[in-house]
Structure formats: C-alpha cells, structure tokens
C-alpha cells in the first residue's frame, strides 16, 4: 500500500497548441517491499513518472497517495516525502560536489536537520552498505573510479534512510563489472533492508534477472504491468515500442519454431540451460 498512483496526467504547455502529454492516465499501486523494473523507450515518460513519485514534478491532474495520504493535500510535507522516497538520478556522480566522500554523503541527512552524531552515523552506515570502507572517507570524490563514484552518490541518497529507492538507469555507462556491482548492491538493499526498489532500466537482461514485477511505459501511458514472464510474452509489441525481450527469450522462440517443445516463458541463461539439458537427457 506504499504508493498509489491514481489517474495521473502530466501535460506540458497546457492550453497552448503545443500541449503534449508526458503522462496520460497512469494508475499504479506499489506495495511495500516490491522490486519493480520500469522500462520504456526514451521519451516514454518513465523518468517523468519517477519524478512525480517524490514530488519533484506536480501532476496536471490525478493523485498520488503515499501510505494512504495524498501528497498533494494541503500541508503535506514534501520535504519529508523526499526523505522517504529517495531518487537516484541518471549519472548521479555528476552531483558529487564536496571535497571528500564522507562530507558529500553527509549532505542529505544534514538537510534533514538531524544531530551531528546521527548524521555521521548514517553516513558511515550508508558508505558501508555501498561497500566503500574508511579508506575512502577522506578521498576526493573526483578521484574515484566511475563505479566507485556512482556508489558514493547512491550512499548520499541511502544516508537519508529512504523507504523507497528509485534508481534511474543506475548502470548507464558502466562496464560489466561496475554494472554487476551496482545491481548486486541494489538487490542486497532490497533483500536485507526490505527497501522498496524501482529500477529504471534499458537492459532487459538486467530486469529479467532481478525484478519481480515489470511496468512498461510507452508515450506517457502504462502499457504492461506484470511479472517479467508475462510482459516478455508480448515481445513483438515491445519491439514496436523500440524495446525488446532478453536475448534468451528469442532463443527459446527460435527453438520452438524449429519444433522443440520448450517453455516459452524462459528468459535467463540458467533457466534455458536447465530446460535444454532436461530435453536432451530425456532423449538420450
């Protein structure tokens, strides 16, 4: 019941001939502790949607309830909302600005008006979560590697202790090792801290591996919402939206076309391997 999005519209240039829908009648309920993948072609409205969830953008019409309370109600504290719904932007390392890593991570909790002691405790905790030990505390954030910078930037959001963590393409521009580090970290936060996670991604292989629910946006509208298996069954429609299914899904369909009875819902390398081996052993 954590977040309820109700008939959300966001229009640019309202009342002019340039009026354009960025979001159109989006309805979505996100339960506590879910791990959701949000996918869509560039311009589909996925980033716009995430920016509504922590109040950075205000809807033209529709409502968002956070734990049952409308965030648009008079007197609702947006500041508090932003502490609870943490948003990690694309290329978050561009927002690092302090002289050392530790001070940078302190910035968020400091703005929440916490005591000095609490701020430091949270910063240390957040840095431990992202795997940056004390040897990094006094380093300049600009001297870290790309993956480390990104983890430092994520720590800055974690130090606010959000209940919901939204990450906008957290692996963009990273190499495979950096990508695995970040996704592993996000999965751990979800499992161990029970955080609700919304992962905006372009990589179908990544979402197939990690998330339990997939929301697909196209031209400002929510078009699919279900388990990755359910959503990837519509791979032909996904292609029309400039998206695709994971490569393994295509392998499975190619095998079925060749007369091999394999489950069409398979989407990871491990599942495909096991299913093919089972078929092979049955034949042998």
């Amino acid at each position: 019941m954590a977040i309820e999005v109700k008939h959300l519209d966001h229009r640019y240039g309202e009342g002019t001939i340039f009026e354009q829908y960025a979001l159109k009648n989006v309805t979505l309920t996100i339960a506590d502790g879910e791990f959701i993948g949000l996918i869509g072609h560039t311009g589909s409205g996925k980033s716009t949607l995430t920016q509504h969830l922590n109040g950075l953008l205000k809807a033209t019409s529709g409502d968002i309830l956070y734990n049952g309370e409308s965030i648009y109600a008079e007197g609702y504290s947006m500041k508090e909302l932003r502490g609870r719904v943490g948003l990690v932007f694309q290329y978050p390392e561009h927002q690092l600005f302090e002289t050392d890593v530790f001070t940078d991570v302190c910035f968020g909790p400091k703005n929440l008006g916490l005591s000095e002691e609490e701020i430091k405790r949270r910063a240390a905790e957040a840095l431990a979560l992202v795997g940056l030990d004390e040897s990094f505390y006094k380093q300049s954030p600009f001297e870290l590697s790309g993956g480390q910078k990104r983890r430092a930037a994520i720590a800055g959001v974690l130090a606010m202790k959000p209940e919901v963590l939204i990450l906008d393409e957290p692996t963009a521009g990273l190499d495979p090792r950096g990508r695995d580090d970040i996704l592993g970290l996000v999965a751990r936060l979800h499992e161990e801290q029970g955080m609700t996670v919304i992962l905006v991604s372009h990589s179908m292989e990544d979402v197939a591996r990690y998330v339990s629910r997939l929301v697909v946006m196209n031209r400002g509208e929510k078009v699919f919402d279900g388990t990755p298996r359910e959503v990837f069954r519509h791979y032909k429609q996904l292609e029309k939206m400039g998206l695709a299914a994971p490569q393994i899904t295509y392998v499975v369909h190619a095998l079925r076309e060749r007369g091999i009875a394999i489950d069409e819902d398979i989407m990871t390398v491990e599942e495909a391997r096991d299913a093919i081996l089972a078929l092979w052993r049955k034949n042998a």
């Binding site: 590697s145 390398v269 092979w280």
Partner: protein, 292 residues
C-alpha cells in the same frame, strides 16, 4: 604495414605533488603492439582501467607515448611536424555526445572541422552534404543540435569527423550513454561507413553485441593486449573473457554452458539462429534416431 601500427607502446599517467616530484605513477599501457589493416573494422574490448581509452587517445596524438611509437599511415604521432596530418588521418568520436557539439545548427557543426583545416568554402559545403548524407542526417541539417536525440547527436559528431575526410575513425565508447535505439543507429552508421566508404574503424566498447560483426576483436587487460582474433575465435574463450570482467553474448554463454554438460555444439556461437540450428540438430536428430 597497416594504417595504424603500434610498436611496444608504453604509457604512464604521472601525478606530481606540490614540489613537482613524481607522486604516483599509473602504468596504463605496458607494451602494446598492434598492426591494423586499412579498411578493417576492429573492436577493442576491455573493462574500465584496462588501457583501451588511453590507446585511443594515443592514436591521434591527444596523448603521446611514454615509450614506444605509434604510426598512423607511416607517420609517428611523436613527430610534431606530422601531428596535423595524423589528426587529419585519424578522426576521433568520444563518449558524451553533448561534449563534442559546438555549432548552433547541425550543418555548421559538421563544417567546423574542414573550416579549421582551411578547406575552401565551396568544398566545405560539399563535404557537409556528403557527410550528413553518409550518416543519414540530411533531414536535420538546419536544426539545432539541442533538439536531437543522443543517437542523432552522435551521428552528427561522426559526420563532423567524416567532413575532415579521415582514412580512419577511432570511436571511444560512442554508445555508452545512449539508449538501445540510439546504440543501434550509431553502430549501423559506423558499419556502413566502413563497408561503403572503406574507412578503417576502431571501435572501443564494452557492449558485446556491437563487436560480433567486427573483422577483428582485440581484448585488453591491465595495459596489455591479451586476446586478438576474429569474433568467433575470441568468443570461443568464454571463461577467459569472464576472467577479464567482460560479458559474452547470452547465446554464447548458453552454448558454452551446454557444451560443458556434454552437448556437441560448435565453439564460438554468436547468433540466435546459429544456436537454434545447432540445438535443433541435436535435439530433433536424436529424437529421430530414437524413434527408429
């Protein structure tokens, strides 16, 4: 000798402290030798810090080798009198599309390079026409680059390099900041330039799907070239690639795991159809045999 020839290249990034003493030395390249044939499409793979971007920057004299020599069309980049010609021969495209566009209008941006080279005005316009055509951006020539998508911006950046008529283009992770559509657009453009215009392409990337069509794949790790061969040869070594923190295409990985379990699949499978055909042969074939 190919259009690019590196001989025992060594490059160190040296950091100096306040007293100008050498504080920290980072050996980015530790003896790289490469010979790249004119007209080929070569992909360079490696994780961050493997030395691949340093190698790219050495190719048109943005960085000069600490030791060893790199020749571009027989000219050493360390030789100052050749530097201008080296940069004319080997054009560079970088990762961030927003950092390499300077014009207010697409066609002006593309004309910037040849104008700096002192090309006569009439010829500049001819080159702008040709380059925009080659990357499929003619329809956008009078638009502001601000309004373009990431993939389109990268194609304009490529057109800007093309207008200088290089014989070789070095692209340093040109798709890392693009979405899947933008990525496809850029790779298709680069491939066409290679095939139709015969331009030598050196593509630095960590997306495996972009390298399966290359003529040659070079893998770097720790400042060394550790693997070098056709995509098929390189992707036959799944374990080794993983050891260098690289991905393999999912089909290649699946084929490799099945082979480890005893299925008689050929090595170096790169496409969905290759895998499906081989598997169908094994699974259907055995069924047919069994039913006899």
């Amino acid at each position: 000798m190919g259009i690019i020839k590196a001989v025992n290249l060594i490059f160190d990034y040296i950091r100096h402290d306040d007293e100008e003493n050498k504080d920290e030395i980072n050996h980015a390249l530790r003896g790289v030798s490469l010979d790249i044939a004119e007209g080929s499409f070569v992909a360079v793979l490696g994780h961050n810090g493997s030395g691949k971007s340093t190698l790219a920057k050495l190719m048109n004299g943005i960085l000069l080798p600490t030791e060893g020599t790199i020749y571009i069309s027989n000219m050493s980049t360390s030789d100052e009198e050749h530097l201008w010609n080296v940069r004319k021969t080997a054009g560079m495209v970088f990762q961030n599309p927003d950092n390499q566009i300077i014009g207010n209008v697409v066609e002006e941006d593309v004309g910037f390079g040849p104008e700096n080279m002192g090309v006569p005005t009439k010829e500049i316009w001819e080159r702008v026409d040709e380059s925009l055509e080659a990357v499929g951006m003619t329809a956008y020539r009078l638009q502001s680059p601000n309004k373009l998508s990431g993939g389109q911006k990268q194609r304009v950046a490529i057109a800007g390099v093309m207008a200088m008529k290089p014989r070789c283009i070095v692209l340093d992770e040109p798709t890392a900041m693009l979405d899947p559509n933008g990525r496809r657009e850029v790779i298709r453009t680069v491939r066409e330039l290679n095939r139709q215009e015969g331009i030598t392409v050196l593509l630095i990337t960590h997306y495996m799907e972009e390298v399966i069509d290359a003529d040659r794949v070079v893998v770097m790790d720790g400042g060394h070239v550790v693997m070098d061969g056709t995509p098929k040869e390189v992707f036959s070594h799944v374990k080794e690639l993983k050891q260098y923190s690289l991905d393999v295409p999912q089909v290649t990985e699946l084929a490799d795991e099945l082979r480890a379990e005893g299925l008689a699949l050929p090595e170096g499978i790169l496409t969905i159809d290759e895998l499906a055909d081989s598997l169908a042969g094994i699974l259907n074939g055995e069924k047919a045999w069994q039913s006899k």
